[in-house]
Symmetry: C2
Subunit: 311 residues, 2 copies
């Protein structure tokens, strides 16, 4: 086999994953490593290039069959310039050019996108939002990230900025958010919001409630205070989706990220609010759990690579 | 003068206005009449056709120079089919075809759009949002309507539906809204919300507080309870704009409608919230009062007519 392929790279705070992917979305080979951003950007790039070489060797396709490479990474970043500027979740990676070393080492075009945008591209290509004209993907993890793919393109606004869906006002009496207002969606329905609210409700269990997963496990075990915390987060989740539906009127809302692994706990509140919504054509708008899991990022990055002009 | 022109029609609950407009936006002639929808749709269409004839005669251009006619009208309506289905604010106008009689009487192409979409097209063409790539226009009157023009086109979502910006959740402890949830933007910041809130705060003045204009006048006169009502509405106004900015990331937000005639009372709260917003590139996003006033509708309808293919 020597058909064309691309590389999709998913850089996360804890892990870097790379896959060799065919134009029809088949993963030929994959590998991952700890990110360890704090070791410095040059070290990180060096290890990413080695990992890319390793994946290409595993894929058993000639190097000349490589067409392009796409990278998804948590922002802030500048997709047009290929600059990552995220010392917050990638310590020391401040205003660093990720694309130039990839291009010069691999000799192919390269593209960088926000990780939420890449995941949404992946779900629109091969996952829950497959083939839909307009897909809003919401990733609920530590924070809430959002991306909107319309006609196969990542939506960008003024100055190329992508939407900040986690920062819509849901409840002005809610907790203060770093964005400047109170009661943002992220401050009410994200994993860290769920964990913080649970620690406040159950101070005696504060140590074990370090993340949403622990709260979800307690709720599933029938603990009333944990169930109450999840119920409130689910209601906030539903109201945020209500606003997304009325403002974007998308074909599909895809819900991904670690917290949405427990989608069954959130779904009744979401369905209740959306089914009451008399304004948007909610009979035409599907709300669904993401289906690609952690592969959304590498597949979306691969899809972005495939859209680059190549030789 | 016998240069080409179009007709722009602005149908409102109380008034129908028609203007003859040149391709560069000059109003050659205009006229208006009471809508009196309750007299029935056939009667209404007959009077609209007469008014159109009158405006063309006033314009002193030959009828063959008429290229097209555009109509803006409060929805629900189906722009693709030319069907108005709004017995709520246009009594008896239920599933009626407005375009067929216009086309057959005038012999030119005709188009129908939602009034908020038409006003936004007008402001993007000749008003506050002139020349901007992405303009969100919010019309604050009895309700809150919104429209988004991007690359000169009216944004439509699933099933051709336009966004319902008045129905974003701003405060879940707010008043119940007909859309199905509590504390929608419209239920907190519209003219009728302002009047209802004022009547609740000042029961002794309930009779005189029939609309937002009376509350605004009282606030301007220094009445503390009225000032408090306006301050709360301004805060809700600001939070809704915050969400629009973070979700659409437009170049310009244009604020129109009767309530925004008192924009000076709302502006401080809006500026305060938007300037604190650390997420969107708010240094690139302008928030401005609409500049075309009541002409936004006829000019936008004319712009829509100009975009139709003509002979």
């Amino acid at each position: 086999m020597d058909g064309p392929f691309v590389l999709g790279v998913d850089i996360g705070g804890s892990k870097v994953a790379i896959a060799a992917v065919t134009p029809d979305g088949q993963i030929l080979a994959r590998a991952s490593m700890p990110t360890q951003a704090e070791r410095g950007f040059d070290d990180g790039v060096h290890r990413i290039l080695s990992l890319a070489d390793q994946v290409m060797a595993q894929a058993q396709r000639p190097r000349r069959a490589l067409q392009a490479i796409g990278v998804g990474c948590p922002g802030p970043l500048d997709p047009a310039q290929g600059i990552i500027d995220n010392p917050y979740t990638l310590p020391t990676w401040e205003k660093v050019d990720i694309l130039q070393p990839l291009r010069s080492h691999l000799g192919v075009p390269a593209a960088l996108e926000n990780d939420a945008d890449a995941a949404a591209m992946g779900e629109n290509w091969l996952g829950t939002g497959q083939g839909a004209r307009s897909v809003v993907m919401v990733t609920v993890g530590t924070g809430i990230g959002g991306a909107w793919i319309i006609d196969g393109q990542i939506y960008r606004g003024a100055g190329g900025a992508h939407p900040e869906m986690g920062h819509q006002c849901i409840d002005p009496s809610g907790p203060p958010c770093y964005c400047g207002i109170r009661g943002c969606w992220e401050s009410l329905a994200s994993g860290s919001a769920i964990a913080a609210s649970a620690r406040e409700q159950m101070p005696d269990r504060a140590l074990e409630l370090s993340g949403a997963a622990a709260v979800i496990a307690l709720a599933r075990a029938g603990h009333p205070a944990a169930q109450e915390v999840i119920a409130r987060a689910a209601q906030a989740m539903a109201l945020g989706i209500f606003t997304l539906v009325n403002l974007y009127v998308p074909d599909v809302v895809v819900l991904g990220g670690g917290v949405m692994d427990a989608y069954d706990l959130f779904e009744p509140a979401i369905r209740h609010v959306i089914e009451r919504d008399t304004m948007a054509p909610t009979d035409r708008i599907a709300i669904r759990k993401a289906s690609l899991g952690n592969d959304a990022g590498i597949l979306g990055a691969a899809r972005i690579a495939l859209s680059l002009p190549h030789h």
